[in-house]
């Protein structure tokens, strides 16, 4: 049998032919350098977290096509962008992630001149500690973390005690599945600050959480509202908007921010570093902060909007919903999660691992 062998010899002509193909490929690269942006925008958002028609309205108004990808939680957003922006323009990081991502040069500074609708935003939101002067982010929605519970099963959920230090509902409790909220809430219950880095206080919180594990059925990764609605648990630590959604379907479910205070958070709109369409991104952000568009978004997702002009034209049911706007005296006791730095986060992660190991 004759053996046919490949002969990978190289001569000048073959080299030229090969490199021709290579350069044909390369010419496609510098499209980002072209002055006119293509009519596209990539939006990276939570699920069910934008107005029903907002994206279509934006396309109709500007001709820019929006592609929306979804992430499940802020950590997923952070992890995905940490490895290099895969092509997202507008993203929705929570306040502490804004701080962390800004420190890691993962965000582009906003050009306020291109967003005249900033005038619609409640001035109380315009100079937060996590992003002074709103250099990188604008407030999209805000809310709280509290207890969602069944009125028929739980008489009083006005204190975190009912979750952390009370055997009455053992086995019928769910909690959020991340270290920040569990440790933060335990700290609040013990009378300390949500962002404490004091080792004594953190150790007390750790002991409390390990003892509380006996009563907690599940650390639910943001699906506590489903467990509550399905009757798997009677009370759960959850985000207010998630509980508001199941409250709409089940009159027995309600929401409260316990009296010790809790976490108040703000989801923001920002532009990721390396965004292919920064001009379109600014146009989109301006569109979102329009009065009517802001109203439509808030009506769909039932979270509290910092868009003052939009809030003023919402109906009374929204304005007076206690799950959306908790009483101001309790809100005063709630704290933002601060970005504590990588070392302090490591300490908290080790505590969380210890709780899981116990």
């Amino acid at each position: 049998m004759k053996t046919i062998l490949p002969t990978p010899t190289m001569n000048r002509r073959k080299l030229l032919r090969g490199s021709g193909a290579l350069f044909a490929g390369l010419t496609l690269l510098p499209y980002k350098a072209m002055s006119e942006e293509e009519k596209k925008l990539s939006f990276y958002n939570y699920d069910t977290y934008i107005g029903e028609n907002t994206l279509a309205d934006f396309t109709a108004a500007t001709g820019i096509e929006v592609k929306m990808d979804l992430f499940a939680d802020g950590d997923e957003l952070f992890t995905k962008l940490k490895a290099g922006n895969p092509g997202y323009d507008v993203i929705v990081p929570t306040n502490d992630k804004v701080e962390r991502m800004a420190k890691a040069n993962m965000l582009i500074p906003l050009d306020h001149g291109k967003i005249p609708n900033i005038a619609n935003i409640d001035p109380a939101f315009l100079n937060p500690s996590f992003d002074p002067g709103r250099k990188f982010s604008l407030p999209y929605m805000w809310g709280t973390v509290g207890i969602g519970y069944r009125k028929s099963k739980v008489a009083d959920a006005s204190s975190w005690k009912v979750m952390l230090d009370d055997p009455a509902h053992a086995g019928r409790i769910a909690s959020l599945g991340d270290q920040e909220h569990n440790i933060g809430v335990a700290l609040k219950y013990l009378g300390y600050g949500y962002n404490s880095t004091n080792m004594d206080e953190l150790n007390k919180a750790k002991e409390l959480l390990i003892a509380a594990k006996k009563g907690i059925k599940k650390y639910a990764d943001d699906n506590g509202q489903d467990l509550l609605a399905q009757g798997e648990v009677d009370l759960t630590m959850e985000y207010n908007g998630d509980i508001a959604q199941v409250m709409a379907e089940d009159d027995d479910i309600t929401y409260v921010v316990p009296k010790e205070g809790s976490n108040v958070w703000e989801d923001t709109i920002a532009i990721a570093a390396g965004a292919p369409h920064p001009e379109n991104a600014h146009a989109f952000i301006n569109f979102i902060f329009d009065k009517d568009n802001g109203k439509h978004i808030a009506e769909t997702i039932q979270y509290a909007t910092p868009n003052k002009a939009a809030r003023e034209i919402m109906d009374e049911a929204y304005q007076k919903n206690p799950a959306i706007f908790p009483p101001s005296d309790i809100l005063a006791k709630c704290e933002y999660a601060a970005y504590l730095g990588e070392e302090a986060l490591k300490v908290r992660d080790e505590i969380w691992t210890a709780i899981q190991a116990a």
């Binding site: 062998l5 490949p6 059925k217 990764d221 730095g341 990588e342 992660d349 691992t353 899981q356 190991a357």
Partner: protein, 294 residues
């Protein structure tokens, strides 16, 4: 095909796509993780950086794997994996035996039924299991209907047995298939000889069948035990508050904890465990007289 030693170019032509694949998508990332496991987060202007690393700074991450909490999760992982593996053997052996002694025309169907679950994604199967075992599910709901008159309530989801059951449910085919392949090749005349010579059924099983099928048993044990060690999805979905296996710790290091160096170190410790297990398999199979399962 000719000897690759004489015809090196033919070998490289055929071998290079696979080699390229292996180097670019397997060895290079693995080497990066190995370097990362000896690295730490860079300190820039007195602050620990979010995503810059100082490479090859020392063995701190491996020292951290000796933390008592991590060790206790490692031990839990080994224990649960061992329980699931033994349960798979106890359930799988009779099934493999039954398939081997079925009429020939039923065997392909039986094997197909064993393999069928692989056509469905693991995540979806786990969710399905969750629905069935849930408080209002087919099994969980029926159990609760029986218990309710006695004033009791059973929660299956969120317990350790649920996790073990989930592991058995998912990995059972990995046990049955190698067992089937050895039992099928077992020379049945040995069993007849043993019985003819006066051994009881039990003695025949214990002294003839079991040693002869040992290679299949060992292969099955390995094929179940190793993927159990790295599992995180089932413990996450079916477990309660004490459900983390080492896979969950690793997942959280690469996710929410943003501590890739420590996650890498944990991964390599897990890999070391796997290599030890494989070494035991190699040793046992070299010293066994049974029917090969390869």
């Amino acid at each position: 095909m000719e000897d690759w030693k004489r015809n090196g170019r033919a070998f490289w032509t055929l071998g290079s796509p696979a080699t390229f694949w292996l180097v670019v998508f397997f060895l290079a990332p693995l080497a990066y993780l190995l370097v990362l496991s000896f690295s730490s987060k860079a300190v820039i202007d007195g602050q620990v950086s979010v995503n810059d690393y100082a490479y090859l700074t020392g063995i701190d991450n491996y020292v951290r794997t000796l933390n008592p909490d991590i060790i206790s999760i490692f031990l839990r992982t080994l224990w649960w994996s061992a329980l699931a593996t033994i349960a798979c053997l106890l359930v799988g052996y009779p099934i493999a035996f039954a398939i081997c002694f079925m009429p020939e025309r039923w065997r392909p169907l039986a094997l197909l039924l064993i393999v069928l679950p692989f056509w469905i994604n693991l995540l979806i199967r786990t969710y399905a299991l969750k629905t069935v075992l849930g408080a209002r599910g087919l099994v969980g709901g029926s159990l609760n209907a029986i218990l309710e008159p006695f004033g009791m309530q059973a929660d299956i989801i969120g317990t350790t047995p649920a996790v073990i059951f989930g592991l058995v449910y998912v990995f059972l085919p990995f046990m049955i298939l190698p067992l089937y392949s050895t039992i099928e090749r077992l020379d049945k005349s040995y069993l007849e000889a043993s019985l003819d010579l006066g051994a009881s059924q039990f003695q025949t099983f214990y002294k003839v069948t079991l040693p002869l099928t040992m290679p299949g048993i060992v292969t099955g044990l390995i094929l179940v035990f190793i993927p159990c060690l790295g599992m995180f999805l089932i413990s996450d979905e079916l477990g309660g508050t004490t459900s983390w296996m080492i896979g969950n710790v690793i997942q959280s290091q690469f996710g929410s904890s943003n501590d890739w160096p420590f996650g890498s170190a944990l991964s390599f410790v897990l890999m070391l465990l796997t290599i030890i297990v494989l070494f035991i398999q190699w040793y046992v199979q070299n010293h066994s007289k049974g029917v090969g399962a390869q």
